[in-house]
């Protein structure tokens, strides 16, 4: 029968696409458009070009196992621990964002914990059921989660204003190419791909990473492009409210359904991988005991930062440096690794 450890390629790609594209529903289009103006699409292309280059180099020099580069155990442990902290940080940020969105739209008077309960339950149960469950849920939902919005956004084509694309380079070349490095933080979640060898043959890992990057790049271009061409909206949610489907009044509800489903999947995946990172940082026999405390930590820490304006500002600024972990650290190890030719044989 099937191995309980393995996930399929489709599931891996769906998992990666959701992790990278979940933020597209709310803030990321605004970040890209705010940073590069009408040149946001070039900014997306820059970010993805860097990511493609990095992973091409990575798979060319290694057999897909980052931790094989880190010969000394304390390197590995430090990397795992830092990854754990940053992954948890991303969970907190996204958890806060989801609650903030719900409070701003449907539940203005509901208490925080009332809204946090379904998310906490979903992420905890899904992560506790293991990688098969996380990847299986991703494989089930992601094709629908990202096809439906695209189909619906396609109905707004008549509202597209092509003049919004000009000037082509928006706020300038510097904003697109140099600040583009900071925009790499949007792809922080590629970090979890380094942890996939535990669940997928590392020799075939490129088969997951490359399609994931290609599909997510396409989604970034289509969704940010739609938002940009619609002119006066900076989030996909706002663009959704402009849709006229013919069967409903306003479509904010459909957006909420899709965004929360994608958010729950994102949180569950990140919770699972943060537990995986913690387990590797402090070698533990099992990670099952970690899910409940980590969920509680995310819920409570998110509540504190949610109520605290300074906390939100900190989260926003610190988020710009997230790119260092998945890109610069592995790059440095790749650069200074000894016996590069032997890495593949390892």
């Amino acid at each position: 029968m099937n191995s309980t450890k393995n996930i399929s390629r489709t599931q891996g790609i769906c998992l990666g696409v959701n992790l990278l594209c979940n933020k597209l529903f709310l803030l990321t289009p605004a970040f890209f458009i705010g940073n590069a103006g009408s040149g946001a699409l070039f900014s997306v292309l820059t970010v993805y070009a860097i990511a493609f280059l990095f992973f091409s180099l990575f798979f060319k020099k290694t057999d897909g196992d980052l931790f094989a580069l880190m010969k000394k155990m304390w390197f590995q442990r430090t990397f795992h621990f830092l990854s754990f902290l940053l992954t948890l940080f991303c969970c907190v940020v996204n958890f806060s964002l989801l609650i903030y969105f719900l409070k701003a739209t449907v539940f203005p008077k509901s208490p925080y914990l009332f809204l946090a309960l379904p998310f906490a339950l979903c992420m905890g149960v899904c992560a506790k059921n293991g990688m098969k469950s996380v990847a299986g849920t991703a494989g089930f939902f992601v094709p629908f989660l990202f096809t439906i919005p695209l189909l619906l956004l396609a109905t707004t084509v008549k509202n597209f204003d092509l003049t919004q694309l000009f000037p082509l380079f928006g706020k300038g070349v510097k904003a697109i190419f140099l600040n583009g490095v900071f925009m790499l933080s949007s792809l922080f979640e590629v970090l979890v791909l380094f942890y996939l060898p535990a669940f997928y043959p590392k020799q075939k890992l490129a088969g997951i990473v490359r399609p994931t990057l290609a599909i997510s790049c396409l989604l970034y271009l289509l969704i940010i492009g739609s938002v940009l061409l619609l002119g006066n909206s900076h989030t996909a949610g706002h663009a959704f409210s402009l849709l006229q489907t013919g069967f409903s009044g306003r479509n904010d509800g459909i957006f909420l359904l899709i965004y929360t489903l994608s958010g729950m999947l994102y949180l569950a995946s990140m919770l699972f991988f943060s537990a995986e990172m913690f387990q590797k940082a402090f070698p533990l026999p099992t990670k099952n005991v970690l899910f409940l405390p980590l969920t509680l930590l995310i819920v409570l820490y998110s509540e504190i930062t949610f109520l605290n304006q300074e906390g939100q500002a900190f989260l926003k600024n610190a988020g710009l440096m997230l790119w260092l972990m998945p890109f610069s650290v592995p790059f440095l190890f790749l650069l200074f690794a000894k016996n590069k030719k032997e890495l593949k044989h390892d």
Binding site: N2, C122, S133, G136, G249, L257
Partner: protein, 541 residues
Amino acid sequence: MHIFYNLLYTKDMRNFHFIKNIFTYTPKEADNTFHLTGTSDAPPALNLARSISESLAENLAFAEQIYSLPQNSDIKVRKFTVGNLSSAFLIFVEGLVRDDTIGNHILAPLMLLPQENVSTEKVMNTLILNNQVTLLETFSEVADEVNLGNCILLVDGITTAFSVDVKGWDRRGIDAPITEHVIYGPHEGFNENFKVNTALIRKNLRNQNLICETLSLGKQSKTPCALLYIKNVTNRALVREMRRRLQNIDADFVYQAGEVEQFIEDKSFSLSPQLLTTERPDKTAAALVEGKVAVIVHGSPFALIAPVSFTEFLTSPEDQNVRFPFANLMKGIRLLGILSSFLLSGLYIAIVNYHREMIPADLLFAIEAAREAVPFSALFELLLMEVSFDIIREASLRVPSPIGSTVGIIGGLIVGQAAVSAALVSPLAIIIVSLTGVGSFATPNYALNFTFRFARYIYIFLGAAYGFLGIAAGIFLHATLLCAVKSFGVPLFSTLSGKNRASILSFLFQTPSWKREKRHAYVQAQQTDMQQEISRKWEEL
């Protein structure tokens, strides 16, 4: 005197009885109330492993002890003489055997034997006219065979018993399946006799590699059960696992396929079924060809099939027989029906309570106007109708079939119409509940129907509490829990795991017959191909 009498009577009845008993005698009232208490007078356990003795009297006494004769009125013992020399007796269960066969093919030839010493060989040769004759050594074997409906012959001086297959009880004929009707395709369904059921499969699947192993379930019931698979197709590990689970059911009595399903499924507390139950021999045969195993339990008109993916619960036997464009159309409509069966009520509550902006303005006014006279909340209104609908459904299943349709009409038309007229519920709630009800009938698998009926109530509460957030949480948890469920080591959503493209496509689409080239990857069959890549060879000629 009156005061004294009252004092005695009201204050303490015992005083009154005491004084009364001085002058008159009252016999104590007998306590006829039955109290069920533990018993210590259970009969001693018999050693059934005991071998058959040479002495017929001894054997008869022990057989009478085993079957509590003459208390047991349906167990018959027929004493007679073989060839006017040796005494013998037959023991069988009245009603399970063919009386004429016993008379013509056992009693008559044995009684007419020439007067000489009888031996095992001689008796065997005399009984050869019968279908099956088995030699038995112990009384436990004798008891098993009698319980199965065979007739046992014991002869004085022979330490072997003869079990003669004379089974012949009345049984239901082969009818059309009740839960899996089709327009195209065969109209044969299983019945309660497992030999008939295995024969029906063998009739569909004429192949010498089809193996039908017989096992017995239940330490005391010894219910016959058939494990079927195709020797050169099915994964050996799967057959071993099924056999292991069946052989390790440690229960006294097991009778039905539903019970066996609960004994062998992976997760008992999951809402989703993990084995496919079908009463169609053609569907069972198709599953065996796919590389699965089937279990048929005596007394149950259902076969259990494993492993199974979630897609198969959504597939109707009709799909195989209809041309694929129409099969896909029907499948799409069926999926919509299934989705509406568990989601529509929750979505209605969520939209009415939290997301009114989604409803077009004119419709919203109409809904509000309809609900104006209703004094209850949308949640209570919907629950009232859902519960009423389920009660009507249960009632129409239990009553005799001629009245069943009347109950449906009364429930659907009169109660619904009356509820709207009495302003108990709004017309929209009736429409929603009707659509969910009709949608649930579109579910091809009866076991899955229960899952969705249960889930519907959860979605209603989630929609009422959280709106679309609750619905999203419900769908997410539902999918997550389904992903964690396995059917004999195969995840229920294995068709989506993408091991081969055909598996993924089959989740949503019905492929044409000539395109079903490979078996599902999750079955891990010995042979992956079912047909050649180009099966319509005539096109190439």
